[in-house]
């Protein structure tokens, strides 16, 4: 396993969180592989970065100010693929006003190495530890 690859994967995750927290869906979308597959809770499977981005805009970026933190538990690299179970915290503050929804959850990330040596999100499944309030 390359420490350099692990470092690059962690950089991607930092960019993913920073873009979410900045409310910048375009920057967030750049962390996704074009053929990304999203397996969100309480919604059907999404295939392709355009579908994932459209879903995420509607479900998260447009209605909420986001505060996301992701902790990768263990990154395992196998050639051009990598996996990492993870935990996360997510605060969603309605832009229209109202109480912040605070959630914690867990995920399995699959990352894909790009031709330029960077890593992007391939598949992601996540769910919450408790039903969202």
């Amino acid at each position: 396993m390359s420490k350099n690859d692990v470092a690059k994967i962690k950089t991607t995750v930092r960019k993913y969180c920073a873009a979410a927290n900045a409310g910048d869906p375009d920057a967030w979308g750049k962390t996704l592989d074009g053929k990304a597959v999203w397996l969100p809770p309480d919604a059907p499977r999404l295939v392709g970065s355009k579908a994932v981005l459209a879903f995420t805009r509607t479900r998260f970026f447009e209605p909420y100010k986001i505060k996301l933190g992701v902790k990768l538990n263990k990154v395992q690299v196998f050639g051009s693929k990598a996996f990492a179970p993870a935990s996360f915290s997510l605060d969603l503050t309605p832009k229209a006003g109202g109480d912040t929804i605070k959630a914690t959850g867990k995920a399995v990330h699959e990352f894909r190495k790009q031709r330029d040596g960077s890593w992007k999100y391939g598949e992601l499944i996540w769910n919450y530890d408790k039903p969202l309030a």
Binding site: P40, P41, F83, K106
Partner: protein, 136 residues
């Protein structure tokens, strides 16, 4: 129905498909001890609306305390290899639970590792419903 990448042998794909069938059977018969043995000793199981279960004992306990399963079935299984004895699988699931008005349907992502004896064990599994939360 399943598909696979060329990075896995036919035997590997068949073995992982067999694990899927075995999991369906064990969960549908509520044989959670046997189900937990489909996981690696340090595996993590992540089901919605509950904390992650780490290790076979916790996974077995999660099963015993979880929904009263009538039947679990997987479909649209896709298996991908990534070298070094690792693979991942995605599928849809249907879960019929006692007392529920309708089955839960969802999807899962499972990471597998091949043991020295050729057996494939789950090292990480996460599942999420496709349905909106109850009450929505």
């Amino acid at each position: 129905m399943s598909s696979s990448s060329t990075e896995l042998s036919r035997d590997d794909v068949a073995a992982i498909n067999e694990v899927c069938s075995v999991v369906e059977r064990y969960v549908s018969t509520r044989n959670y001890a046997a189900w937990a043995n489909c996981f690696a000793p340090d595996a993590v199981f992540m089901f919605a609306n509950s904390p992650p279960a780490r290790g076979r004992a916790a996974i077995e306990e999660w099963g015993r305390n979880g929904p009263k399963v009538v039947r679990l079935t997987f479909s649209d299984i896709e298996i991908h290899g990534c070298g070094s004895g690792m693979a991942w699988m995605t599928s849809a699931y249907q879960l019929i639970v006692e007392g529920a008005d309708a089955p839960d349907v969802g999807k899962q992502l499972v990471v597998f590792k091949r043991e020295n004896d050729g057996a494939w064990l789950c090292v990480a599994c996460s599942a999420s419903s496709d349905l909106p939360p109850a009450g929505n």
